[in-house]
C-alpha cells in the first residue's frame, strides 16, 4: 500500500489549515498579484533584468559523473543553469500570521524541490538556486501563505513576530521596510536586507481580521483558538513523546 501523508493531527480549523497548506494536491488561493520584477526587487539579490550569477557552468556543459542518483532525480532549473544559492526569509506574526515558521518549512518540503529550509522562532529561511527561489518566493507572496501586515520578508532584525502590533496593524519592523500608504495599501520601500528600493513595491491591502482568524495556522487563546481545545492534537503529541521516551530504552521485540 502506498504511503499516504496525513499532514498532522487535530480536529480544529487550525489543524485543518495546516494540512491544507502542506498538501500539494490542494491549490492554495491566490490572493494578490506581484510581478517577477517586484519579487526580484524585494529579494534584493540581483538587479532586475540582470543575468543570474552562476556558481558553476550549466550541468549540460560539464562532465557529469556516472551517478545513479542523478539519473533518478532531475535537477531543478536553477541547478541545471548553475545558479548560485540565495535565500528568502519570512517573519510571521504570532497574531494570526497566515503561516508560521515550522508550518512554512513543512509546506515547502511538500511543495518545493531542491530547498534547504531553516526554522527558528522569529523567522524561517529557505535557500535554493536563485531562479528557483524567485519562483517559490512569488508563490509564497501571492498565495494565502502571506498577509502584508502579519507576514514580512526580512533578512535581518526579525523581532516583531512576538511583539504587539503597531496601531496601523503592521507587525513591528525596526527597519520599517514597508509602510501603510494611502487607502491602506502596504508598500515595500526597502528590500529584505533593508536597502532602500529605487521604486516602491505594493503588496496590496492587509487581509481583514475575520479572514486571518479563519485561515490561522497558530493556536492562540486570546485572538483565536486555544490549543487545549484541540484535544486530539494534544493527545497526539503526548503519544509521540511517550513512544520516543520508550524507544530510548532500545526495546527489543520478542
Amino acid at each position: 500500500m502506498a504511503y499516504k501523508p496525513q499532514y498532522g493531527p487535530g480536529t480544529s480549523h487550525v489543524a485543518e489549515n495546516r494540512r491544507r497548506q502542506m498538501n500539494p494536491d490542494i491549490e492554495l488561493d491566490k490572493v494578490r498579484n506581484v510581478t517577477d520584477e517586484d519579487v526580484v526587487l524585494i529579494l534584493g539579490h540581483r538587479a532586475p533584468g540582470s543575468a543570474y550569477p552562476t556558481a558553476h557552468p550549466p550541468l549540460a556543459e560539464q562532465q557529469e559523473p556516472d551517478c545513479p542518483i542523478r539519473k533518478i532525480v532531475e535537477a531543478t532549473p536553477g541547478a541545471k543553469a548553475g545558479d548560485r544559492v540565495r535565500y528568502v526569509q519570512f517573519v510571521d506574526s504570532m497574531y494570526n500570521g497566515p503561516s508560521q515558521p515550522y508550518q512554512r518549512t513543512y509546506t515547502e518540503c511538500y511543495r518545493f524541490r531542491g530547498i534547504d529550509p531553516g526554522t527558528l522562532s522569529g523567522r524561517q529561511i529557505v535557500e535554493c538556486r536563485e531562479r528557483d527561489l524567485e519562483g517559490y518566493s512569488k508563490w509564497l507572496i501571492e498565495t494565502e501563505m502571506f498577509d502584508p501586515a502579519l507576514t514580512s520578508i526580512r533578512g535581518a532584525t526579525v523581532h516583531g513576530h512576538s511583539l504587539r502590533l503597531a496601531e496601523d496593524g503592521l507587525m513591528f519592523d525596526m527597519l520599517q521596510r514597508c509602510i501603510v500608504g494611502d487607502e491602506g495599501v502596504v508598500t515595500y520601500v526597502k528590500d529584505q536586507i533593508g536597502e532602500p528600493l529605487d521604486r516602491a513595491v505594493s503588496l496590496g491591502k492587509p487581509l481583514d481580521d475575520a479572514w486571518v482568524k479563519e485561515h490561522s495556522t497558530i493556536f492562540h487563546s486570546l485572538i483565536g483558538l486555544s490549543y487545549r481545545d484541540d484535544v486530539e492534537y494534544i493527545e497526539y503529541i503526548q503519544r509521540i513523546h511517550s513512544l520516543r521516551t520508550k524507544y530510548g530504552f532500545m526495546p527489543i521485540e520478542e
Binding site: 515550522y102 493556536f219 486570546l222 511517550s242
Partner: protein, 568 residues
C-alpha cells in the same frame, strides 16, 4: 490535564512597571517614537564613556548610532528594564551582562577558586608513618599556619617573596566534620558549623554522610584563579597545604612522606568542583563545563534557606545556572558576543518563570494532593509516564496561555528561545519536585518542547531542532551513551553541550527533585556544606539577590588590584 484557577500573577507588577501607562493585555501599541538608544540611561552612559576613551586613546570605540545597522540604532521600540525576580530591583539589561556585574563575576570566581581536601589521609600519614601526634590543638595550629600560607605566604624557607594580604583577603581555609566532639575542639574561626547553618534534619543527614572524617574547604585568592584558571586551584592549595603540614608538624622539608601529603592534597583527597573536560573543550578541572548538575544544585544554598519552598530553591538554581552556564560558559568560554545574556536573563527576571512554576505547584496540590511546602520523600508522586505527561502538558498549556493573554509579557520574552526555556523549565521543575525524580523532570522538559513547537509552530533557535526534539529518547534511559541520571549530567553531556537556554534549567530540575523530597543535599554533601560558609564573598543562598546587587553596583567583589595600581 485540567486548568486550575490561580488568581496570583507574579509577573504583573513587573509588566506594569516596565510598560507604564499601557494595558498589559492589549495587542496594539506604538513604535518608532522612543528616541532610539537615548531612551536608555545606561546606553547614554556608555556613549559618554566611550567619547572620553576615544579622546584619551585616539582609537574609535562604542558608536552605536553609526555602527548599528548602518545608522539605525536600537530603540525603535521600548528598551525595557527588568526586575530581577523576587528582588523588586529593576535594572537595565546591560547591567546583567557579567562584564558589567561584579556579583556575577564573583559567583563564578568563588566556585572556580574552591576545592575540598580531606584530612584523613594526611593525618594517617602523620600518625602511622611518621609517628606524629594529631590532636585538636595540632589541627588548630595547622589551620592557623595554613591560613597564613594559603593566600601566598612562606612558612619554611627564610628568603621568599610573598603576596600582599590586601590583594588576597578573600582567601582562607575552614574545616568541617560530622564528629560533634571534634567540631567543638576546633577554633570557631576555622569551623564551618553545620549545626548552625542547616536546619536540624539537614544537619543530621549531612553529618551522617561526613562521619568522623574532616575536610578542608579551601578558597584560593580570586586574583590567582583569575590570572591562571580553575585547574590552578588544587595545585595552589596543595602546595600551601604541604608546606603548612611541614611547618605545623615539624617535618623534614624533603622527606619522602611529604610526597604522600602532596598526593593526598593534589589527587587522592581532593574534590574538584568540576571535572576535567575532553581535549576538544580544552579546559582543566574547576571550569564551568565540568560541573555536574547535581554538584551545582549543591553549590546553590537556597534549599538551606528556604527548605519549605522547593520551587523558590529551584528558581535560585535556575538564575545562578543560566548566568554561569549560558552567559559565562556557553556565551564566552565557548562562543563570544553578547547575545547569550538576553537568552539567559529571561529565566530570572520579571517573575515570569516563578509564576509558571508556582502554577505547577498549585496543580500538584490540586490534582495530586502533593503539598510542596512540606517536602517529604514519602509524599512524592510515583514518576509514571502518565503523571509526567499530565503535569508537563498542563503547566505548558498554562504558560502558553499566559503569554497569549498578556501580549506585553510575550513582548518581554520576545525571542522563542527565551519562551521555550522558561516554559520547559516550569514543566521540568513541576515534574521533578512532584516526583522527586530528576529524570522525570527532564522528561517533562522535552514534552513541553514538543508541545510548544506544535502549538505555535515555532520553538527556539536552530539548536532546538536537535537537542529538544530528540530529548525524549535520552531523558529516561540509563544505557551508556544513551542516557544518564540527571545528577551526573552536566554542561558537557553529549546532547547538552551546545545549547543556550538549557543547562541552568536542567541543573535546577535536578536540584528540584531533591528539594521536593526535603533532602539535605543532591549529590555531594561536602559541596553542600562547603558553600554554606557565610565567609564566602558571594552569598550562595540568594544568587538572584546578589546579581541584583551587582546590577545596581552595590556588590563588593574580591580580587581587586587597586592597591597596586595608580588611583583613578
Amino acid at each position: 490535564m485540567a486548568k486550575i484557577e490561580r488568581s496570583q500573577k507574579l509577573f504583573l507588577d513587573a509588566l506594569k512597571e516596565k510598560f507604564q501607562g499601557q494595558d498589559p493585555e492589549s495587542v496594539k501599541t506604538t513604535f518608532y517614537n522612543f528616541g532610539g538608544l537615548k531612551q536608555s540611561p545606561r546606553k547614554r552612559e556608555f556613549m559618554a564613556a566611550a567619547k572620553g576613551i576615544e579622546m584619551s586613546r585616539g582609537i574609535s570605540m562604542y558608536d552605536p548610532e553609526h555602527c548599528h545597522l548602518g545608522g539605525l540604532p536600537m530603540g525603535q521600540r521600548q528598551l525595557m528594564t527588568y526586575e530581577v525576580s523576587t528582588t523588586g530591583v529593576f535594572v537595565e539589561g546591560d547591567d546583567l551582562h557579567f562584564v558589567n556585574n561584579a556579583a556575577m563575576q564573583q559567583f563564578w570566581d568563588d566556585i572556580r577558586r574552591t576545592v575540598i581536601v580531606g584530612m584523613d589521609l594526611a593525618h594517617a600519614t602523620l600518625q602511622k608513618r611518621l609517628g606524629k601526634e594529631v590532636t585538636p590543638e595540632t589541627i588548630n595550629e595547622y589551620l592557623h599556619i595554613l591560613n597564613h600560607a594559603m593566600p601566598g605566604a612562606a612558612v619554611v624557607q627564610e628568603h621568599m617573596v610573598e603576596t600582599h594580604p590586601g590583594l588576597v583577603d578573600d582567601c582562607y581555609v575552614k574545616v568541617f566534620t560530622g564528629d560533634d566532639a571534634m567540631a567543638d575542639e576546633i577554633e570557631p574561626q576555622f569551623l564551618i558549623n553545620i549545626d548552625k547553618l542547616f536546619i536540624d534534619e539537614q544537619a543530621e543527614a549531612l553529618k551522617a554522610q561526613v562521619g568522623k572524617s574532616m575536610y578542608q574547604a579551601i578558597h584560593i585568592p580570586t586574583i590567582v584563579s583569575r590570572t591562571c584558571d580553575g585547574g590552578t586551584t588544587s595545585r595552589w592549595s596543595a602546595m600551601q597545604i604541604g608546606m603548612s603540614f611541614i611547618a605545623a608538624y615539624r617535618m623534614c622539608a624533603g622527606e619522602a612522606a611529604v610526597a604522600d601529603l602532596s598526593f593526598a592534597a593534589k589527587h587522592a583527597g581532593v574534590s574538584q568542583m568540576a571535572s576535567i573536560l575532553p581535549a576538544r573543550r580544552a579546559r582543566g578541572p574547576n571550569e564551568p563545563g565540568g560541573i555536574k548538575f547535581g554538584v551545582f544544585s549543591d553549590i546553590i544554598q537556597a534549599n538551606r534557606k528556604y527548605p519549605n519552598d522547593p520551587a523558590r530553591a529551584s528558581l535560585e538554581v535556575v538564575g545562578a545556572g543560566t548566568m554561569l552556564f549560558d552567559q559565562i560558559w556557553l556565551g564566552s568560554y565557548m562562543s563570544g558576543g553578547v547575545g547569550f545574556t538576553q537568552y539567559a536573563t529571561a529565566a530570572y527576571t520579571d517573575n515570569i518563570l516563578d509564576e509558571y512554576t508556582y502554577y505547577g505547584m498549585d496543580y500538584l496540590k490540586d490534582k495530586y494532593g502533593f503539598d510542596y511546602s512540606n517536602p517529604d520523600p514519602a509524599a512524592t508522586i510515583a514518576p509514571t509516564q502518565d503523571v509526567v505527561n499530565d503535569l508537563a502538558t498542563e503547566v505548558n498549556l498554562n504558560a502558553m496561555e499566559q503569554y497569549e493573554g498578556y501580549p506585553t509579557m510575550m513582548e518581554d520574552h520576545f525571542g522563542g528561545s527565551q519562551r521555550a526555556g522558561v516554559m520547559a523549565a516550569a514543566c521540568g521543575l513541576t515534574c521533578s519536585i512532584g516526583t522527586g525524580n530528576s529524570n522525570a523532570g527532564l522528561n517533562g522538559w522535552y514534552l513541553s518542547m514538543l508541545m510548544h513547537k506544535e502549538g505555535w509552530s515555532r520553538l527556539g533557535f536552530f539548536g532546538y531542532d536537535l537537542q529538544d526534539q530528540c530529548g525524549s529518547a535520552n531523558s529516561l534511559s540509563m544505557e551508556p551513551d544513551r542516557g544518564l541520571m540527571g545528577e551526573l549530567r552536566g554542561p558537557n553531556y553529549p546532547n547538552y553541550a551546545m545549547n543556550v537556554g538549557h543547562q541552568g534549567e536542567y541543573a535546577a530540575i535536578v536540584g528540584g527533585a531533591h528539594y521536593g523530597r526535603g533532602d539535605a543535599f543532591c549529590f555531594d554533601p561536602l559541596v553542600k556544606i562547603c558553600f554554606a560558609d557565610p565567609s564566602l564573598i558571594f552569598d550562595f543562598s540568594e544568587p538572584r539577590r546578589e546579581f541584583a546587587k551587582g546590577a545596581i553596583r552595590e556588590f563588593k567583589p574580591a580580587g581587586e588590584r587597586s592597591l597596586i595600581i595608580p588611583a583613578r
